[in-house]
């Protein structure tokens, strides 16, 4: 049985257990968000995806990413009240991440340019807002390399106990999903540096370009049952080979 409810007075349908933000996006409603992807568990950390949910006579503001849809609810995705709360939350996030482009831009849309708070004293990963999207993505990928370290105002993101971790394969997904792009990752021709560790690249057997880290390759080959030489050639060289195969067919 599908769940039926309304978003901004438009009737929508969803499967039981779906998150409100996912359903809203699928139906073309835009709700700002920083810490949610459909493929990882929602935890409601950034609190920017606030919406108003009415159920009978009761109404409340709630984060939409981790709100499970219910029959008959009436959702509104924008109102002066919602904007006021989003603006407040953005002001707090801006204090933590003053030089993040993404946060500055979003905050500006809500009329916030300079936070009244901060600067915060302890943030070893500048601009990190502790939304844990990186931790959740890494866990979802099966690497389980990241976690939160410390408590209270000393809380931060890192490898467990802040020690080198064998489980990190250097895939870079954490750096990709981070909403403030605050995770430093640097690639050279031979190595990728991330989380204080260096990972050797597999180099293309044709041109020498880096293809994928050796550990990431080994993980992919083991979990997907691929042949050992699957990652020997880089994307550009494979594309050139394809064009030559096409040419041989045509001429």
């Amino acid at each position: 049985m599908p769940i039926r409810f309304k978003i901004n007075d438009v009737a929508v349908e969803a499967k039981p257990g779906e998150g409100l933000l996912d359903v809203a996006r699928r139906n073309g409603f835009s709700i700002p968000s920083l810490c949610h992807l459909e493929s990882v568990p929602a935890i409601g950390a950034c609190r920017i995806c606030l919406v108003e949910v009415r159920r009978g006579r009761r109404s409340k503001l709630t984060t939409s990413c981790n709100y499970e849809v219910l029959d008959g609810i009436e959702v509104s995705t924008d109102s002066p009240e919602i904007r006021r709360h989003r603006a407040m939350n953005l002001e707090l996030l801006l204090a933590r991440a003053p030089s993040s482009e993404a946060i500055r831009k979003l905050a500006a849309q809500y009329g916030v340019s300079q936070p009244r708070f901060g600067p915060i004293k302890y943030n070893p990963l500048p601009n990190c807002i502790l939304c844990e999207l990186c931790v959740r993505a890494c866990t979802e990928l099966g690497h389980h390399a990241l976690t939160t370290v410390g408590r209270g105002d000393r809380k931060r993101i890192g490898l467990p106990f802040n020690k080198p971790a064998d489980t990190c394969v250097g895939c870079g997904a954490c750096a990709s999903v981070c909403p403030t792009h605050c995770i430093p990752m640097t690639d050279t021709l031979t190595k990728r540096a991330i989380w204080g560790q260096k990972h050797d690249f597999v180099r293309c057997s044709e041109c020498g370009a880096p293809v994928i880290t050796k550990k990431h390759r080994d993980h992919a080959i083991a979990t997907k049952g691929l042949p050992e030489d699957y990652y020997d050639v880089c994307q550009s060289c494979k594309q050139i080979a394809t064009s030559q195969r096409f040419a041989a067919i045509v001429w």
Partner: protein, 160 residues
């Protein structure tokens, strides 16, 4: 990021018009047919694709590439939308999904975690991982109205 409304399933008639004047109208079914023997290497398709997928026509984001194949010979290469696609099979988050209307395998930004496995998986080298965006760049057949085919002045790309 993407200026192309295509990734989501919607009728072709509902798509906003492309800026610029296409060379010709294309139908709405496909498939996209590459005809290298007609290609002159003018790279109009690369530019059309780049503008269909970015505000500023960033050629690095073009999903189609022209490769020289000898004197006055050129081959267009772009995603083949494989039946058993390697990229779909390796993606750990089901972020590459076939659009039932167009047959294109589309990239879902709301699911992708940017691990890069899809780029390295494609045996033809058609998937490209944009390093600055940390997201894969993938042909989505423009939601059923491929800009490359619309703008090719030599009918070397056809959307049949």
């Amino acid at each position: 990021m993407s200026a192309n409304p295509a990734s989501k399933s919607q009728p072709v008639s509902a798509l906003p018009p492309l800026s610029g004047k296409p060379m010709r109208q294309v139908g709405s079914t496909g498939p996209l047919v590459l005809l290298p023997n007609r290609c002159t290497g003018c790279r109009t398709c690369e530019l059309a694709c780049a503008f269909a997928h970015s505000e500023d026509g960033n050629l690095g984001l073009s999903r189609i590439r022209i490769h020289p194949a000898g004197p006055d010979r050129y081959v267009q290469v772009t995603c083949l939308q494989c039946v058993n696609a390697a990229c779909v099979q390796v993606c750990p988050t089901q972020a590459l999904v076939r659009n039932a209307d167009t047959g294109a395998i589309c990239h879902d930004e709301n699911r992708c975690v940017g691990c890069g496995l899809c780029e390295t998986a494609c045996p033809f080298g058609h998937m490209h991982f944009a390093v600055e965006m940390r997201k894969p760049v993938k042909c989505d057949l423009c939601g059923g109205r491929p800009a490359c085919a619309m703008f090719c002045p030599h009918e070397a790309l056809e959307w049949r």
